[in-house]
């Protein structure tokens, strides 16, 4: 199996064997993080641009570290402090960056479809690092790598994704990736935060946390996006955290003793996740971050380390 795509835009377009190839490649590259000299020459002379129109800690930093460990030159662009503040449009900025001949552009933008728009417009490879509420494929890949390392396989696993499903690109990418690998997925949250017709993605729906976390192998909490509250989708933070916040007590009463707790970050401590759970023995939240670097090395290597001209 060889990688033939030029871009990584969505989990939805990948087939199971491509997802496994990405996860396997990332798994093999993890060893680099344990070296004294964390650098290999694979992408020497390649230029990678981080084009971020939304704030990000983990994703931007880990793409930057991943590129640097592979010896590529990584340039960070963030919308604040750029000509965007002078009114330059997204596509004009992107074309200007492309004129400087990068090999890969990594893009995050608040509009769904931003990465695909660039893929159609620019000559280089595009990686989607999050587009609106659409997809965030590298997050799904690092979630899959974390789960496989902890559970050794995907067969028969059941994952509950809990929280604001409607506005979460992480949930969408995770659902597509997990369903393709045969993982059972339950999404859970208040009805206002569960998108209509979500069952068509092949997931079960639950409106009660205690039911959703029973007998699952993994509980994936999502960040409650505070700004949603002002839209009247939840009555109050306090009510949300009482019904949907995962505490040690609820975990002990309803979940399996070997359950994994995951969260894509940033965590709202005390809202969707009690601090004792976030820092507790079930939590693999920091493993996810470490795996993020390996996954992004794998993606950059497969995209920039080949001259495939396939779409």
């Amino acid at each position: 199996m060889r990688w033939t795509r030029k871009h990584l835009l969505t989990m939805r377009e990948l087939d199971a064997s491509e997802i496994v190839l990405l996860v396997d490649t990332a798994a093999s590259l993890q060893e680099i993080a344990t070296r004294e000299i964390k650098k290999v020459p694979a992408l020497r002379g390649k230029t990678i641009v981080n084009l971020f129109y939304e704030p990000s800690t983990r994703t931007r930093t880990s793409f930057e570290i991943a590129g640097k460990w592979l010896s590529a030159d990584v340039i960070n662009f963030s919308a604040s402090g750029s000509s965007t503040t002078k009114g330059e449009s997204f596509i004009d900025t992107a074309k200007n960056i492309a004129a400087m001949s990068p090999d890969v552009v990594i893009v995050r933008h608040s509009s769904a479809g931003a990465a695909e728009l660039l893929a159609r417009t620019l000559p280089c490879s595009i990686v989607n690092a999050g587009d609106g509420a659409h997809e965030h494929p590298t997050q799904a890949l690092l979630d899959l790598l974390t789960i496989r390392e902890k559970k050794a396989h995907f067969d028969g696993l059941h994952v509950a994704i809990v929280g604001d499903i409607a506005h979460s690109r992480v949930a969408r990418s995770d659902i597509h990736g997990m369903r393709k690998l045969g993982v059972t997925v339950t999404v859970a949250g208040p009805p206002t935060l569960i998108p209509p017709f979500v069952q068509e993605l092949g997931v079960k729906v639950s409106y009660r946390l205690e039911d959703a976390i029973r007998d699952v192998d993994v509980i994936m909490l999502l960040r409650l996006q505070h700004e949603r509250m002002t839209n009247g989708l939840i009555p109050s933070l306090r009510e949300y955290s009482r019904y949907w916040g995962l505490t040690l007590d609820k975990l002990a009463k309803h979940a399996r003793p070997d359950v994994l707790i995951m969260h894509p970050g940033p965590v709202n401590r005390g809202i969707e996740l009690a601090p004792e759970v976030a820092d507790g023995p079930y939590s693999v939240i920091l493993d996810q971050v470490a795996k993020g670097v390996a996954v992004r090395m794998g993606v950059l290597l497969l995209l920039a380390g080949s001259k495939a001209d396939a779409p």
Binding site: M1, T4, L29, A42, L301, G305
Partner: protein, 187 residues
Amino acid sequence: MAAPVPRFREKTQVLDEAALDRALTRIAHEILEKNGGASDLAFVGLRTRGVTLAQRLAAKIAQIDGATLPVGTLDITLYRDDLGLRGAPVIRGTDIPFSIKNKTVILVDDVLFTGRTVRAALDAIIDLGRPRAIQLAILIDRGHRELPIRPDYVGKNLPTSRRESVAVRLREHDGDDRVVIEEPEEA
């Protein structure tokens, strides 16, 4: 995309099972002789068949000398000088679970041809630490070097033409132990 791979057919057998085993036994003795014993030696095999040969050499040395030498696995894909010319790389991972610092590393591969793989392997090993020395053990040296690289231990020198291919078949991967020269089918 990668160019279509020509199909090869077997031309001659150059080593059978017994000859291959004798060659490895001799190399094991030469390693011990050259290094004055087995202390501070470590094997690093190149994926895939170099690893198997390294494990066999380690087993021979255990028989002869009683020493258990560590065997590591090296994937040189990230160090290739033709990365990107052959389609997307396939990474299978490096696994060297011991320190190579101040060790004499015996690098093992099945066939030595242009020397480019060994060049990449030398860079890869040195990125992992500073060994005292690196020596090269090869089952088949088929000539046609493009870089100034020579092996310390050779199973068999085999003059070949560039259009031919040398296939080292090992029980663990191919079901039997032998070495054959192959030629393109159109010929």
